[in-house]
Amino acid sequence: MDLKFSKEDEDFRMMVREFVRAAVPADMALRTRQGFHSTKEDLQTWNRILFEKGWAAPHWPKEYGGTGWTPLQIYIFEEECAAADAPFLSYFGLRLLGPLIYTFGSDEQKAELLQPILSGETFWCQGFSEPSAGSDLASVKTTAVRSGNEWVINGQKIWTTEAHFADRMFCLARTDQNVPPQKGGLSIFLFDMNTPGVSVRPIITIDEGHSVNEVFLDNVRISADAVLGRVGDGWTQAKFLLSHERVSNAQVPRSKRDLELLKQIAAQEMAGGQRVIDLPEVRQRIAELEIDLCGLEWSVLRELFNGHGAKSQPIASGLKILGSEIQQRLSTLLTDIVGPKGMVLYDEEIRSDALPGNAPSYIVGSTARQLFLRAASIYAGANEIQRTIIAKQVFNLSS
């Protein structure tokens, strides 16, 4: 056992910090702190800055544009980005599709698709969830039927994040109705969002924000080679995504930054002539969160160093459960710390100097984020699904 960060790791952190802090534009940092859904412009700008530095996808293999950093260095990099209020780069291309392409894609797909993801030139959205297939991906109903030199896709996708500004979609569809989805009946297709037959309708979430959409696929005709890897590999590819992003769902870097901001706000808020941060009940809630976040961070470190051994997959589920709960508790505590002002949305529209409730500017975004984060325990595999995964894999139980 050696439970210390090395000198090299600390030097690396300083090197990253120096670059990142100078590179994030101030207005972008403010928007990230407020926690609204990132705009395409901010995502593109930050992606471009990191791309030019060679740091857009540190977690990719070096041959495809990664940095060759160790898992701990990648984690340190993400921590420094969050601490500098850099936006979290668009997930779907860099985190999901990129790894799918370099793992399952053809040589042509690797050559053609990876570079534009890396540079931020092409934004992707993930067409997996459907009205009757949320956590249960095997129930996907969208079909892809071969017609001559084309595939014809019909169906409906829902909760599609960033579909309203994505350039392309990777879309899960049934390719063989006679074969169970798990046994080769599913495939992933890649196509432009401006292909005839694709239409996007916004879904406004309870934070009154727009990040997710319905996507209707009505006789969408795409070329025969627009399938990712091999026809019938969709289930394997979808499962690969579940195991690939083991630690990022824990969202530790962002939560650490949120906790720091929360403490700063609690030190400025007053209640009955006292600083809110000095109220014993608030101190206790902050302490509990801080302690739980420490535990989560060390679980992530253990995972990065394979300190969980064979339990890695269920651990990922545990990290997702704890990470989402901590995000929810943090955002809820913040809206409690601001007292009665927490009853106002303070959304993106209200950015003037005179906020309702005579509120200070740091409050903008807090209520909306608290509301939106109710989704954290639902998306990326609902927490109940994660518990079932743990029961199955740790205790060898099935339902």
Binding site: M1, D2, L3, K4, F5, S6, R33, L72, L261, K263, Q264, I265, A266, A267, Q268, I277, D278, R283, Q284, A287, E288, E290, I291, D292, C294, G295, L296, E297, W298, S299, L301, R302, F305, N306, G307, H308, K311, P314, I315, S317, G318, I321, L322, Y362, E384, Q386, R387, T388, I390, A391, V394, F395, L397, S398, S399
Partner: protein, 385 residues
């Protein structure tokens, strides 16, 4: 960073596991405990033979100068097997505090007996009003005319105190300036004026109240003088807490494994209990808490040598996590066993009882939460939003 055990630590773990598997019969231990018997002398001799009592003794005094990680490895396996050995009191607290004392012949002789398994120690800190605050005590040490130390006071809830040959006692030493300061003394349980009331704690172990009626001791009884007793004691207690955390972790994993087996084996409504999703999800929640607790154990271990305030905050953060996890895992292990969980002759409830005692040893949840908030500065205002 490296989380896996070294080869030596793996061997150590295997030897404790072998002891638990071959020598330790949980059911027999429970029965023996009900009859009021104690951890057996032959098993304690085995601890000595296997070198576990040498582990934390400084090399200069003939020990192995082992690390906290090594002791944690042993404690975890003892916890998993629910072994009621006074390992912490003697081999960790005793060895550490004696090791921190002046290297006098008396101390070395005592350490020698400790390593051979011929001397059990117990740390007598707690008094009826101190509640884990090591300085809130009234036991007094004074110097008599003929250079003897005279101790008087009443210590309570001395863990493993019923069978201790030697107590390490905290007392307020009156100094020339009239200001009293904490110091630590070595007191044989056989010394004249030592009055011991022995009783069982809920985990079946044996504690004691120790009354010191003008106990007169030679001046070599002073183990750690007041200029550094407080600092040594705080550091050693933080080590002890982490070792207890490791024992608790082993106990939680033991209880969790036993519970999963029980759910697989028991049939109700025509199906295995383990097939009910609500019970599966409870097991999953227990697993998540246990793994999180292990991460915090490692964090605590990594902070044992940090500067005192940081160390205190980190150890308390670990103990908050351990205590919360222990209560959840221990009580849910009983819940998932249904009525069987309530049976004294079934082991699962004993995991819970041991975890309850660990949760009240050298600090409890509220004490650790308070210490954590006191030791973490409210906020660094630089870069405020």
């Amino acid at each position: 960073m490296e989380f896996s055990l070294t080869d030596e630590q793996s061997l150590l773990r295997d030897s404790v596991r072998r002891f638990v598997a071959e020598e330790h019969d949980l059911n027999r231990q429970q029965e023996a405990l009900r009859k009021g018997s104690r951890f057996s002398a032959s098993h304690w001799n085995l601890f000595a033979e296997l070198g576990w009592l040498y582990l934390m003794v400084p090399e200069a005094a003939g020990g192995l100068g082992g690390s906290a990680e090594d002791a944690a490895v042993i404690a975890e396996e003892l916890g998993r097997g629910l072994v009621d050995a006074p390992f912490l009191s003697t081999a960790v607290l005793g060895a550490e505090l004696l090791g921190a004392g002046e290297p006098t012949p008396q101390r070395d002789e005592l350490l020698g007996r400790l390593m051979e398994g011929r001397c059990r120690l117990a740390l007598a800190l707690e008094e009826s009003a101190s509640r884990y605050d090591v300085s809130a005590i009234s036991t007094a040490a004074s110097i008599s005319g003929n250079d003897e130390i005279v101790l008087s006071g009443q210590k309570v809830l001395v863990q493993d105190g019923a069978d201790a040959d030697v107590f390490i006692v905290s007392a307020i030493a009156s100094a020339g300036d009239g200001v009293g300061r904490l110091a630590l003394y070595v007191v044989p349980s056989s010394a004249a004026g030592v009055e011991i009331r022995r009783y069982r704690t809920i985990d079946g172990r044996w504690a004691a109240d120790v009354k010191l009626n003008d106990v007169r001791l030679p001046n070599t009884a002073l183990l750690i003088p007041s200029d550094r007793a407080r600092e040594v004691l705080e550091r050693t207690l933080d080590l002890a807490r982490i070792i207890l955390a490791s024992e608790a972790l082993g106990a939680m994993e033991g209880a969790l494994a036993m519970t999963a087996d029980y759910l697989k084996g028991r049939t109700q409504f025509g199906r295995a209990l383990a097939s009910f999703q609500s019970l599966q999800h409870r097991l999953a929640d227990m697993f998540v808490k246990v793994e999180n607790a292990r991460s915090m154990l490692y964090r605590g271990l990594s902070m044992l040598n940090a500067e005192p305030n940081q160390r205190a905050a980190a150890i308390s953060a670990t103990m908050v996590t351990i205590n919360q996890a222990a209560e959840f895992v221990g009580s849910q292990a009983i819940q998932l066993h249904g009525g069987m969980g309530m049976a004294e002759e079934y082991p699962i409830g004993h995991f819970y009882k041991r975890l309850r005692v660990i949760g009240k040893s050298y600090g409890d949840l509220s004490w650790h939460m308070n210490r954590y908030t006191q030791m973490t500065p409210t906020i660094d205002m630089q870069g405020a939003a």
